[in-house]
Subunit: 275 residues, 2 copies
């Protein structure tokens, strides 16, 4: 099912190709492969915006990046305008405006730095505390959303869900907005600084296990990246603590195969039909 | 020590006065009262930026706001330029650029909405899980930072620390980057949508209890606000999970006197002298 691709570009790289048409201005194509329905997954949109910022800034790693979603970014051409905010010695900041037909759909604000190739011993690292069965006991599933839209983006990942997660997919919502899974790119490519933002938003919403049967729309997504991920499976967990008044947050954690916390995400999302 | 101030403006309101000098352009003054040394506390800077955005947008509540700190915003005049990003029916977005001497110091990106005066029963709410002794067993302290800078902002709050927190202030760091406290504005004013962002960054850094004896600089701060806080004490907790390679994150939770989770924050900070 998965082909090794140690040579050549990954599917994400291929689908994040940007052409520089002017100083800080890029054109690209929102690939249907990373959409839900015909709208870009929020993590893919963020990742694409970060590629444009990375092409302008002198530092490689998006330490903290925030995307605001204003309009659906749909399958098709996209124009990305990058503004350099401030370039320092250890930190560099940029903004990407992602436009379709002249309308801004997504804005990304990010601070880049340089993560060490070999991390030092942490001053403090909380141990991983995620309920996740061993890989061989977890179920590979490619899940759509309850609303019936095709979640193309899910087919880009080999995702092995913990047996206690995604009860809704078996017709039996767990009642707890928690999800944990082993995750790899389906093409066999290894996780990197542009894949983590996609992973942050690509799995099914935790609220589906509260029997929420509608699309949940990301309003804002922030991803911190703290280490360069080691090759291999990611351990991913997602959790919500408050689903109320039509809004929810979803927090993600991403651990690499060496047991390091490589990323953390938080999003605010809106449940349009629940007031 | 605290005077009731049900009539008149709060200290924060007084120190957040902005004058509109052009369409979307404001002038104000960064008050020393909310500084650490002579630089604005990051939460106060965010709150001030949100005031400017709020003056332009038609919706009242900053649901999610992100500040990027590029240069110290120091005690003295500040110019704030607001850009309206998108105004919809339920969400409105804006950006504030905060400038001193023509240089941008802080950029704030926020999405506003309208939180209900009377919250509905949540679809899901995780119970509060914070170790915090009863108010009368907690210690009122006004703490400076280990580096010796005066933390003026701390005197703006009546803060009662849990006995298990801020061991460093008693010369005995706990070794755990956790902090919990009861918090109110020192002037007796009640918490609101502009105070929560300040609270998110005003307490001592969790890393001080790892025997870190230096100022920790906020790189980026994101605050979600999920409910209008009820009058009374806030229960605040702060936690870090990874302090490594010169970076740390700090997550805050803010609960009102009715036991509701009203806000959540996460910041990325840099420890300049720890590589």
């Amino acid at each position: 099912m998965r082909e090794s691709s140690t040579v050549g570009e990954s599917a994400l790289e291929r689908d994040s190709t940007l052409t520089r048409i002017d100083d800080g201005v890029f054109e690209g194509d929102v690939s249907l492969d990373w959409c839900i329905g015909d709208a870009a997954n929020g993590g893919y949109a963020l990742s694409l915006g970060l590629r444009a910022i990375a092409a302008v800034l002198p530092l490689p790693d998006p330490l903290s990046s925030t995307a605001h979603y204003m309009r659906p970014l749909v399958h098709g051409p996209v124009r990305i305008e990058v503004e350099t905010m401030r370039i320092g010695r250890t930190l560099a900041r940029g903004v990407a405006r992602m436009l379709q037909d002249g309308d801004e759909c997504v804005r990304v604000l990010a601070v880049f730095g340089a993560l060490p190739e070999t991390p030092a011993e942490p001053l403090y690292a909380e141990p991983r505390d995620i309920v996740l069965a061993p890989l061989e006991e977890c179920t590979p599933l490619v899940l759509n959303t309850p609303g019936g839209l095709t979640a193309h983006v899910r087919a880009r990942f080999d995702t092995r869900y913990d047996p206690g997660s995604v009860g809704w997919a078996r017709g039996n919502p767990t009642g707890r907005p928690l999800l944990s899974a082993w995750v790899r790119a389906e093409d066999g490519s290894e996780p990197d600084r542009f894949l983590i933002p996609v992973v942050a938003d690509a799995l099914p919403c935790t609220a589906f296990d509260l029997a929420v049967e509608q699309r949940v729309l990301t309003v804002e997504l922030t991803v911190h990246q703290r280490a360069i991920p080691a090759p291999g499976w990611l351990v991913c967990s997602y959790r919500s603590r408050l689903v109320a008044d039509g809004y929810m947050e979803e927090d993600g954690e991403f651990w690499d195969s060496k047991g390091r916390l490589v990323g953390m995400s938080r999003q605010l999302a809106i449940l349009p039909r629940i007031s």
